[in-house]
Amino acid sequence: MVVTGAGIITALGCGWKSNAEGFRAGRVAFRSVTLFDVSRQRAKSAAEIDLPGDLPPTLLTAHMARRLDRAGRLLVTAAHECWNQAGWQPDDQLPIVLGTTSGAMSCGENYLLHALSIPKSQKQQPTRVVQYQLHRQGLDLCNAFGFAGPVTVISNACASGGNALGHAFQMIRRGASTKVFAGGYDALCQLTFAGFDSLQALSPTTCRPFDAGRDGLLLGEGAAMLALESLEAAKKRGAEILGEIIGYGAATDIHHLTQPHPNGDAALAAMSAACANAGVTPEQVDYVNAHGTATPQNDATEAAAINRWAGPRAATLPVSSTKASIGHLLGGAGAVEAVVCLMALRGQWLPPEINLERPDPACQFKIVRKPVDVKINIALSNSFGFGGANASLAFRRWS
């Protein structure tokens, strides 16, 4: 199962090139939130995207394009890059699998705001209802690129993007489809920001995954789409191959709705399953892109899980969390971090955490702190979420 197209938009930039440069250098993209009022919140920063003024050219009518909310625009932008890179043609049954936690929540907020204000006029409300539905963005992609495949939206909190890619991977592996358009996305919105702030999960300083002094996550926004297809189909049409997805594992942590079990059993199960699925051992894994949110609990649990999973390999295993650069993209995180892994495998470098000051002694592994060029062949990416959703994906360099 190979990747023949990838599109990405994050606060580091729009497109593969600018993101690869940013992640390779460990650039940090946080700034004061401007999208909504955060004056009453503990945290004031996030990794906001400067959205391009115009959408890339697609088959969406001007009317349809105008209706897209922020999340929809992010998704179409990433999808456009991916679609063009893959060189796919419209296909009547091309499946779309998307991961998101809240889809077009900014549109939903507008709906709620209007409904709660006891309106006399319902103008725009039907449009908001339609656009707010999570599957709407999938249908928008169908309309944007001229196909009509089945749309599946997985909403497994912050593991959604990882689950979506894993589900797509399984569809191809079992022969249900030769190609799948898959990815994840989420945009910043007030409800989610206030939610994480209410839990005191947001950092009032900055995002420092696996740092002994870490004090919370920072939110980001973005989208990534991947064109996944069987090796046979890709070779047949002479497509450029960006990398392989070779394994996927998922497990459920039943400890608590928002807190992982300190032992990291479910994370360990997901990582082990992904590696078993890929037929690789921890010794063969050259890099782990950790979930690494920078909350005290998540990182402690993930560190425990990586230590247990890697065993003796942990001492030399490079690990980093790219949330240090772009924040937590929630439903978009798994897909964006998958593209980061593909970039690293293709470019033979590791994304560093520049802001790390004092590694948590619980981490028996090596945290990548400086830009570094290395030979890597296999990478693992973790995505864990509320509700105990755990997903791990294994990638291999295409050579």
Binding site: T152, S198, G387
Partner: protein, 337 residues
């Protein structure tokens, strides 16, 4: 896709007809819409119309579980339907797939109202319950299952996509058994939104669950087929999608049952009616009786189909779903051979 060796071993329902599959069956057998009630719409004199889940006389024992004490109605209905489907069984590695459209609306509204008042005092207890996969998470915790769990969000047809996914998980040994649940909860926001598209539509809420295994012993029916999902897009209208879904079903005969997704909103039924215009067999339209409850409605359709087959009323039952805004998809259940 044609499904092989996947059996329905249990059914569970919470609906405007009451708690349990028996109440659902009795409600549907009356073939008359359950009386709708008024639901106050804040700020307006004219109320909304809805069909609520009737209250239970006592508090169900499962609500004593720590994870469920302050959970949403959606989560509680999900667990109730799942537990009924499981019966006395206590499977170790049960996959969980929950399908929904509107999600955890009440807590989402409440939390957002708090944010609008003052984000600094918004409740950290409410926010986690607003996450789409909270009901699936609570159910997994209640059952003690660490197997994969997916929450699928989309229109009515997403429940049938969930059945197809469960069949694949079972075929590949990903899980030993699988609960597929469709649910929606009541908050005035949902019928308020529904009303923007149809004055006749009446919202209903609740959940429905199918328990699937590879074991035919004691099974109620066999899941024989789930078609692909046919999205409704600019390139494919509702009728084309409905026709494609029907065409993928195995050949049907008039002595079978059709459980369709017809509502009491005539224009919304046109595509499905046209796709099945030559159908002369028995037909059941649960939404007409119970109301529009999206993923829960699709679950009730499947439950009615399985129940009819299990009670020897029909050799097979077909389920057609032409969803609210996304897709057409169909499934087929048949008697055990």
């Amino acid at each position: 896709m044609v499904v092989s060796q996947v059996f329905v071993n249990g059914l569970g329902a919470v609906s405007p007809a009451g708690w349990g599959v028996t109440a659902l069956r009795e409600g549907l057998e009356k073939c008359e819409p359950i009386a709708a009630r008024d639901l106050p719409r804040p700020g307006w004199e004219k109320p909304l119309r809805f069909r609520p889940v009737p209250p239970l006389s006592g508090r169900p024992a499962f609500l004593a579980h720590a994870r469920l004490r302050r959970s949403s109605a959606m989560a509680q209905h999900t667990v109730a339907a799942a537990l009924e489907a499981l019966g006395e069984r206590t499977p170790a590695r049960v996959g969980i797939i929950v399908a929904m459209l509107a999600g955890i609306v009440t807590y989402t509204r409440r939390f957002y109202e708090e944010v609008l008042r003052d984000p600094a005092t918004a409740s950290p207890l409410i926010f986690p319950e607003t996450v789409f996969n909270a009901p699936a998470s609570h159910l997994a915790a209640y059952l003690g299952s660490t197997a994969p769990s997916y929450t699928l969000v989309g229109d009515d047809g997403m429940f049938l996509q969930g059945l197809g996914l469960a069949a694949q998980w079972l075929a590949e040994g990903e899980v030993e058994s699988c609960l597929v649940i469709g649910g929606e909860e009541l908050d005035w926001l949902v019928p308020d939104a529904l009303r923007l598209f149809s004055r006749e539509a009446v919202y209903g809420s609740g959940a429905g669950a199918l328990y699937l295994t590879r074991n035919s012993e004691g099974a109620l029916a066999e899941l024989a087929a789930v078609t692909d999902s046919f999205s409704i897009t600019r390139a494919r209208n509702r009728l084309e999608a409905a026709l494609k879904a029907r065409s993928q079903l195995p050949p049907q005969s008039p002595d079978e049952l059709l459980c369709d997704s017809a509502r009491n909103v005539t224009r919304r039924n046109a595509a499905e009616n046209a796709a099945w215009q030559d159908w002369t067999g028995a037909r059941l339209s649960p939404k007409v009786v119970l109301g529009e409850a999206f993923a829960a409605s699709a679950a009730w359709q499947c439950i009615a189909a399985c129940d009819a087959v299990a009670r020897d009323a029909f050799e097979a039952a077909n389920v057609s779903v032409v969803g609210a805004s996304q897709q057409a998809i169909a499934a087929r259940f048949r008697k055990l051979t």
